[in-house]
Symmetry: C2
Subunit: 335 residues, 2 copies
Amino acid sequence: MQNPVTVEVTRGRIVESRHRGMGIVVDGDGRTVFSFGDVESGVFPRSACKAMQALPLVESGAADAYGFGNRELALACASHSGEDGHAALAASMLARAGRDVSALECGAHWSSDQNTLIHQARTLEKPTALHNNCSGKHSGFVCTCCHAGYEVEGYVNYDHPLQAEIRGTMEALTGAALGYETCGIDGCSIPTYAAPLKGLAHGFARMLTGAGLEPLRAKASRRLMEACMAEPFYVAGTRRACTKLMQVAPGKIFAKTGAEGVFVAALPDQGLAMAVKCEDGTTRAAEAMIFALIARWFERDGEVHQSLMAMANKSMKNWNGIHVGDIRVTDALFA
Amino acid sequence: MQNPVTVEVTRGRIVESRHRGMGIVVDGDGRTVFSFGDVESGVFPRSACKAMQALPLVESGAADAYGFGNRELALACASHSGEDGHAALAASMLARAGRDVSALECGAHWSSDQNTLIHQARTLEKPTALHNNCSGKHSGFVCTCCHAGYEVEGYVNYDHPLQAEIRGTMEALTGAALGYETCGIDGCSIPTYAAPLKGLAHGFARMLTGAGLEPLRAKASRRLMEACMAEPFYVAGTRRACTKLMQVAPGKIFAKTGAEGVFVAALPDQGLAMAVKCEDGTTRAAEAMIFALIARWFERDGEVHQSLMAMANKSMKNWNGIHVGDIRVTDALFA
C-alpha cells in the first residue's frame, strides 16, 4: 500500500521535500474513525509507548510504595532532554529504592536539544545515564524490580521477568502478537516490538477510556496519562513538541513521540486515541501530522484548534531570521 | 513520477523507515549513463553547488590577487562544521581583502556537529558569522566584490551584480533557466535556484571535463575541484561525509553535500558527474545514495569500492554500543 504525501516542505514557490506517512484515529472500542496509509503493517512504536511500559510500575504498587507523584510518573513515561531537573528527578526516584545511577542500563548520551547540550557542555565533563532521554523509564524499571523482588541486573533483557510482563501488557493493549519475530532493540537497549499502527492507537484508546480493561489496569492507565498531562515538562522538556502540545490545552491532550517519526496522542474529552508514523522516520513530519490530526477534534474557530494548526503549518526562518519557506500538512490529513 | 525507495533503515528483522530518492550520472556531454526517479523537476541544489558559486572568485582574478591556495578555495566551496581551523581561515581570507567578520551577511549559528558544538560551547560565548557553515563561501564573495569593485554591502541580494553573475554562471553550466520564478532564499540568505537534477549533474560534468567551456572557466572549474580534493577537511570537517568521501580515494572523488538531502559528486578518472536528492530531505539517505552511486564506478574487488559500500550500508549501534539495525541501499541504485 502506497502511503500518501502528508507533509510538504516549501522554499520560495517550490516544494523542496515531501514526507509520506500513515496514521489512524480510533475510539475506545477500536473502531476506526479516520485513517490514511498503511495502518496494518508492523511499526516499532519506540518511545511512543512508554506509558504502556510504565504500567507495571503502577500496577505492582511500586509507585505508591516509593511515594511517586505526577512528576515521577511523567518522567517514567518520558523521552526527556536531559535538563538538570530531569536528571535530578531520575536520581531521586532511584534513591527511593536505595539505588543510584549505577543501576541504570540505558547508556549515556548528550542532549539532543541544542540549548540543553550547550548547558551540559558547560556544566558537565560528560553526561551520565541520568541524562539519557530514557532515564526516567529506566528508573521506573529499577524501582519496579526492587519492589517486585526481581533481580535488577539485566532488567533490559528480553527474558527478564519485567520485560516479559511489559510484553504481555502491550499484547493485551494492542491486540498484536508481540514476540521474538517482531522484536528489535531500542536505543536504550530494551526490546521494542513492531505492532500495527491500528493496534497501537487502540492500545492508547483502551488506556484512555478503560474500555475492556480490568479496573486495576484502567486506573493505572488513567493515572499515568493524567500525570503526563499534569507535568508536561517532565515528559520531554523546554521547547519540545510533547511538552508544548500538552500545554496547549492542559488536561485535554495526552501526547508522546517516538524515534523514527512515530507520535501517539489521546484526547480524554473525545474518547479518541491516534497514532502516526512518518514513512521516512523524520520527526518534523511526525510532529506536523500529529498536530494537525489532533486539531481536527477541536472546534475550528477555537483557540486550541488554531494554536495546533499554527504548530502544524510552521514558517521556517534562516540564520538571519528571513522567512524562507514553510512546513505544511496536506489534504491527506483532512480527507 | 514515482521516486523509488532507495534506502531502507532496519531494526531487528524489520524495515523501520524507508527513503525515496532520485539520482543521475552523466558524462561531460550530458549523456545520461544511469538514472532513477524524477531527474527533470526542479530541485534546490542548496550548498551542493558551492563550487559553481565560487567560480567568480577564481575567474575574476580575486583568488590570485589575494594569494589564495587550495585551503582557501576549498573553504570557499565548503559547508564546514565551524571548527577552529575553519573560522580562522575565513577570518584570514577576509583580512587579505582588508575586511573582517562584520562584512559577512550569512548570520551565525552553532555547529551542527555535536563534538564541535561541545567544543564551541566550552570556548565561545556564542558563535559568530565566521562559524556559519557558509563563512568560507561568503568570505569568497566579499573578496570577489572587493577585487571587482562591487559594493560589498548587500552582496547576498538577488539584484547584486555578484549574485547576477553567479546566476548566469549556473545557467550556463546547468542549462536551466534560473530566475525569479525558480528562486528561493538559502539558509545563509543568498538566492538558491531550483534546477533539474539532470542539469545539476551536467553542470558538474562540464566543470570536471571542461567540455564546452571557455578555457578560463574550464581552468577555474578544475582548480576549485582539485582544491577541494586536496584539502577535504576544509570542505566539511572532522567526521563529516564530504571530507571522509574525498579521503577514501584522494584526487579521485570530488563530492559536496547540500541541505534537504542533496549530494553531488564528480569522478575525474571516469569523467562522470552525478547528483542525488532524497525526496524527504534526509541527510542519512542522501549520503548512503551517493556513497553507493560512486562505488559503482570503482572496481568491485578494490579497496575504494569496498570502503564506499561499507559507508553506504552502515551498521547502527545504540547508546550501549549494541548493534540494533542497519542503513542499507536498495537495488534501485544498481538497476
